[in-house]
Amino acid sequence: MTQADILSGGFAEAPQQAARAFRACLEAMARPGRIQRIEGAHPPAPLSPAAGAVLLTLVDSTTPLCLAPSHDLPAVRQWIAFHCGAPLAEPAQAVFALGTWEALQPLSAFPIGTPQYPDRSTTLIVEMNALSPPNAVLTGPGIEDRQPARLPEIDSLIANRELFPLGHDFFFTAGFEIAALPRTTEPEAL
């Protein structure tokens, strides 16, 4: 990876592109399972453009980031160091975590918040091969009726729902697409 690769791939027009990327994140978190398009980032592989955009939009020097082994690579580390400046952290300190579903296990290593501060839990950015076809149906806040979605696994996400108001919140990313699953959503296998 050359110097130029590390320095490129960020937002060209940071305020406007970050605003659009955040709206995709906001819509995703507000309407669980619904796929949004998120653009603007061109991070090094294996980081997807969608995950790169989430990092550029939400992660900075105040938010410790845990890189799962799947993404704990020099190119990714250097790109994040330059564009986000996030300190890399162990799961127990992570505000955000990034990786494939398998690499992020065990989820119990990440904070789920405290009864008085349930917001102090890790947001996990899970890299997927694709966000379709659906393998689960979601219900809960943000969903009018039932929302089909592709989840990496269902049982542990049901267990996460049972922790409410504590628990993890998830972004699922693939290519230029993003979907989310907050702790309030009830997944059910299709």
Partner: protein, 290 residues
Amino acid sequence: MSEAAYNFAYLDEATKRMIRRALLKGLAIPGYQVPFASREMPMPYGWGTGGVQVTAACLTPEDCLKVIDQGADDTTNAVSIRKFFERTAGVATSEHTAAASVIQTRHRIPEQALTERQILVYQVPIPEPLRFLEPRESETRKMHALEEYGLMHVKLYEDIARHGAIATSYAYPVRVEGRYVMDPSPIPKFDNPKLGGMAAIQLFGAGREQRIYAVPPYTRVVSLDFEDHPFEASKAAHDCDLCGAAHSYLDEVITDDKGGRMFVCSDTDFCAMRRAEGHVGRLSPKGAAA
């Protein structure tokens, strides 16, 4: 044209990231108040600094912004916030509810039903519904953690004991998804039924108190009440004197010093739209449309 000396939508990017993270946690835990590092804004506390920060963090260049103050588009607070974002973000603005993608509101929910492509941002003075019952933040935080809301029901009961009915008429407490008791900001309780099951995203910002909270679309929001004293969304028992609307929330306007008064829709856009459609009220000019 936007003011070139400022960043897009006024706030710096690091501040927006901080607010954006709080907004996402707010959506993930509906009704829970997320602490955030509220900034000083170029307007005094009480003029919507919380709402302005939330709006600034959400706006994209493509948005169309509407700002209302007690339902009106043309009052000082609404006009100055709208101008603020015209200058600092260069976004389009509108007074029409249907045309707006982001609506910042002080103390009303528009009469016209909102859609999935809209965001409603509330300005909140006191986000903690239990604050006037328990002044200590350390205690109210524990009460939320333990789901200990008995005190709130005692307050509503005392209303009934004293007045014969629940006298709370605005900032009427609600329970979100059966978990957190939330202050819906000082909207009239007439608006409470619109909080639940709304298609739009609802975001709440309290600048002085440094709290952000949210209600995702299609979320269960229930106004607290008792079986024998059910919640009632009340309004003045009149029709609008300008457009004749029977089911909109009304402002009372004193018209002279001999007891003269009139009732008009608090939602100015809704009232203007109805008048444009030819609806008339008691005080409409004779032969105006009809």
